[in-house]
């Protein structure tokens, strides 16, 4: 079963909203596809961001049969981090899942 990029962005933004809500005691900041996930304006702590990314891996696997490892040496060694925003993360998932049938994953996210 495949997944559209836009659908993925919406799903990830929903996860981000939940994560911000969990961490915030008051006046949670709104979650959007371009909310900063890294650096001085990040909306989540590092630990919460890793939780979000691993939750994302589980959802892709359990609901869409897409097997990807997002937190990897490849991700950390990129000059532009794939964890900057939800949109960038979605693009990274699209890239990792590869076109259907290339063997990179059982299923894929399409553009």
């Amino acid at each position: 079963m495949g997944m559209q990029r836009q659908e993925l962005i919406e799903r990830l933004t929903g996860l981000l909203a939940e994560a911000i809500e969990e961490e915030s005691s008051h006046d949670a900041r709104p979650a959007s596809p371009d909310s900063p996930l890294l650096g001085s304006n990040a909306v989540l702590t590092s630990l919460r961001l890793v939780t979000l990314i691993t939750d994302c891996e589980s959802i892709l696997e359990e609901e869409y049969q897409i097997h990807v490892t997002l937190v990897s040496e490849d991700a950390f060694s990129r000059r532009q981090s794939p964890f900057r925003t939800i949109e960038v993360l979605a693009d990274y998932i699209v890239e990792l899942s590869g076109p259907p049938g290339d063997g990179a994953a059982h299923s894929a996210v399409s553009e």
């Binding site: 911000i20 969990e22 961490e23 915030s24 005691s25 008051h26 006046d27 949670a28 900041r29 890294l38 650096g39 001085s40 304006n41 990040a42 909306v43 989540l44 702590t45 590092s46 630990l47 919460r48 961001l49 890793v50 939780t51 990314i53 691993t54 937190v71 950390f76 981090s81 964890f83």
Partner: protein
């Protein structure tokens, strides 16, 4: 005691501890008299703040005044710690999980900062008497009032109050009178400092940072203040005082700076604008920080090495706790013992956290051979200088039991350094904080991977108990009774209040261990403050939970030392 509130709360000292206590108490509706020895503004050392202080000031509604003063914004602390080490920057960046969470602090001129706070306390209804030196505090037994004697020039007098807060700074009126002050065997420093005009200012992500750089005989602080001023000081061992006397303070100070390349680089072209000052800095605490109707706050209770700029934070934090405790005792006098027990524990935990942190930081991060650094090496579990420190006894106990111990402390300190280390060798305007985000993300992912390897998590202590204690409500400043998970000795994990359902869950792990995923799922269902990974992480750090992989081997968590007073990102460590 009745609830008539006939007498005020008397606060000895109008520095940050006294002013914050007055601001909290007036907000809670109490009458307050502040007796301050000097006329403000007056000079003080201790210019670098932590974000946690801003959090308290914001909740007290005085941040607009602080921001209007245009102090230098401090977003991080940069260390050059040990010879040939890469710089590392402890950034305060944090998600703003509440309006009072700050991702920065300020480098302040204390004369101005302290006056802003004292004026605010006066405007909020505290009676502030400057140039009134407290000369004695007498407490009557059986819940009677306190009598505070004062002197104002040739005049003297006394006041009676329901409670007294000793915020008299290092004078420590009550601690000294009652012989409660205990000097530290480990931190025995001497500070020599002055001020410079001009000098290089860093831009970009290092702008406004405090720099702390080691040299052979100690370390140097370099703090950018407003109006193009730098506060520059050397912290050396007290044994250096003989040499300082021999060559003179000025020459000694200059000699220290010349041995620190970063100081020379920043100060090239700068002009010294003030005399060189010197102070002996013995670290100390008090055998008791609250008793009867008295609460000790800030430096009157304890003082420790200034490396992490925690002085004003401990002062304002303890003042907030003391004010909340006094307010609770006005309404619920029968909680006398519980409130004192809570204050004692809360303040001591905060102080000891810095004590542990600093000792580990000094011990691990220096490869320099000199009296200063040799004196700061922890000499294993038998080091007598820590004989009265609970954190040290706990580690030494672990070591005897064949686990963790002093080696674990050093490993946690090393992990902390690694998390904030730059990927370049020099201090430069091109430094980008995002590289630290990635380091922390990498570490957090390793931590998460280790948790997920746990196929079986057990509860280690004999029992899982729920103990009652207090927390200060963040905006009302009233004490709230909450419950925390603890072992059979009452040792509790107080980061997150938990419920009876949590206790049953943890208790069941003794006979029915769960995997990380199963336990995290059950904790998520129970809801409440703290995410599952935060709760499991803290309990693992405390030694309450232990995880094993699918082969039955223990999974060791690579924890880092925790800091305190710096916002949510500290929670990853």
């Amino acid at each position: 005691m009745t609830d008539s509130r006939r007498r005020p709360v008397i606060i000895a000292g109008g520095g940050p501890a006294g002013s914050v206590a007055a601001l909290c108490l007036t907000r809670l509706g109490h009458d307050v008299v502040v007796l301050e020895k000097e006329k403000f503004p007056r000079y003080r050392l201790g210019e670098s703040l932590l974000p946690g202080t801003l959090s308290i000031l914001a909740r007290l509604g005085v941040m607009d005044r602080i921001e209007a003063a245009n102090f230098v914004r401090k977003r991080a602390a940069t260390f050059l710690w040990g010879p040939d080490q890469e710089p590392w920057t402890f950034t305060f960046s944090t998600p703003r999980t509440a309006p009072w969470v700050y991702d920065h602090a300020y480098q302040v001129t204390r004369a101005e900062f302290d006056k802003i706070l004292l004026d605010a306390a006066r405007e909020r209804g505290a009676e502030v008497r400057e140039e009134h030196e407290v000369t004695d505090v007498r407490m009557e037994g059986n819940g009677g009032p306190v009598t505070v004697s004062w002197r104002n020039g040739d005049l003297d007098g006394s006041l009676r109050g329901d409670f007294v807060i000793d915020a008299s700074g290092s004078r420590g009126i009550i601690a000294r009178k009652m012989n409660m002050r205990r000097f530290d065997g480990y931190f025995r420093n001497m500070a020599v400092w002055s001020y410079y005009r001009g000098g290089r200012r860093f831009r970009g992500d290092l702008e406004g940072n405090i720099f702390s750089a080691t040299f052979r005989e100690g370390w140097i602080w370099i703090i950018p203040l407003k109006d193009d001023v730098y506060s520059v000081g050397a912290v050396v061992d007290q044994s250096a005082s003989a040499r300082m006397r021999a060559i003179g303070i000025e020459t000694f100070y200059q000699e220290c700076l010349e041995r620190c390349p970063l100081a020379m680089e920043i100060l090239s072209g700068a002009t010294r604008s003030e005399k060189v000052r010197v102070i002996r800095e013995w670290a100390y605490d008090a055998s008791s920080v609250s008793l009867g109707r008295a609460f000790l706050c800030g430096d009157s209770a304890c003082f420790i090495d200034p490396l992490f700029s925690q002085g004003v934070h401990l002062a304002t934090y303890s003042a907030m706790l003391a004010a909340a405790g006094i307010d609770h005792l006005y309404r619920t006098p029968q909680d006398h013992d519980a409130v004192h027990g809570w204050y004692e524990k809360s303040y001591r935990e905060a102080y000891n956290r810095y004590h542990e942190f600093l000792a580990a930081f000094y011990s691990v991060n220096s490869g320099l051979d000199s009296t200063f650094w040799r004196n700061r090496k922890i000499e294993g579990a038998e080091d007598r200088r820590f004989a009265d420190k609970e954190w040290f006894s706990a580690l030494a106990g672990q070591q005897e039991a064949g686990a963790g111990g002093i080696g674990e402390l050093e490993a946690r300190a090393a992990t902390l350094s690694e998390l904030w280390q730059h990927s370049r060798n020099e201090v430069t305007d091109q430094f980008d904080e995002t590289e630290l985000s990635l380091r922390r993300l990498r570490w957090a992912s390793e931590l998460m991977r280790d948790f997920r390897r746990m196929a079986r998590i057990t509860w280690v202590p004999r029992e899982a108990r729920l103990v009652s204690s207090f927390k200060v409500h963040p905006t009302s400043f009233r004490l709230e009774r909450q419950h925390f998970i603890a072992d059979e000795h009452g040792r509790a994990m107080t980061s997150y209040p938990l419920t009876e359902a949590h206790r049953r869950l943890f208790d069941s792990l003794k006979t029915h261990p769960l995997s990380y995923r199963e336990l995290a799922g059950k904790l998520k269902d129970l809801k409440g403050p703290g995410t599952p990974v935060q709760i499991i992480g803290r309990l693992t750090e405390n030694g309450f939970l232990e995880g094993f992989d699918r082969h039955g081997d223990p999974v060791r968590i690579r924890a880092a030392l925790r800091f305190g007073g710096v916002g949510a990102e500290d929670d990853i460590s």
